[in-house]
Symmetry: C2
Subunit: 125 residues, 2 copies
Amino acid sequence: MSMYAHNGRVTTQPTLSPAEADVCCPSLTVSPLSIEDAHDFARILKAVADPTRLRLVSLIAAHEQQEACVCDLTEPVGLGQPTVSHHLKILVDAGVLHREKRGVWSYYSLEAATLNRLSEFLSPG
Amino acid sequence: MSMYAHNGRVTTQPTLSPAEADVCCPSLTVSPLSIEDAHDFARILKAVADPTRLRLVSLIAAHEQQEACVCDLTEPVGLGQPTVSHHLKILVDAGVLHREKRGVWSYYSLEAATLNRLSEFLSPG
DNA sequence: ACAAGGCATCGACAAATGTCAATGTATGCG
DNA sequence: CGCATACATTGACATTTGTCGATGCCTTGT
């Protein structure tokens, strides 16, 4: 087994023992992501990687009871109701927000666990 | 000034004092994001919100010296060299990766500060 | 000088994305 | 019932995005 790569740098084998592999919470910077994990986190990140959706999340977080309905959000965001509903659906599908229907209103609130998972995923733990 | 919104929920005024506003590091969950901050963070998040780019970052992080050249990455990622270069450029432009040219090779390494900034932005600080 | 290898850039193209207007669904009120 | 309100869904459209093949640039070795 060659210890030297084609370009002359020393190469060590990245054979991790099962104990070293992060079974619990995959992290960006500890070991190469599996294709599945990469897709999972990309899906969540994609949901958040939009200026409008970032503002929606922050508006909900700053709202009373940490929840808000669509009618609370359309005006501060400056977009139409269908567009806001569309963005909220993306965030709910990604597990970033939680939707609870009460009466005529849909109340959206944070799914803190998902944001925490993202935060720890990105931090060099 | 009405204390009750149209839908009957109690509303308290979110008038933050300047001291409460996060001047240093904007966080998703403390106060409504400005449009500029939303765009800034969306740009960084967009760069990372792709399965291929997540794997590139994790491959670089797991590589010796925490750096890798394009030729180290094409095969594990399973994409052509131009495509990999394209993804790396996006990550560099977003400040997630750093590029250093040595000889014929371009060595890519992590820009830890940016990932930390992202992580803290998402965490409920 | 020449050839080869590593990488960036360009042009093209299909697929995904953000937005809107129009419409549909369901809840509450007279 | 009938109407208004809050929200979701649909269809359409322009823009962006991910990928590739072809090509160009630059460094190294002969």
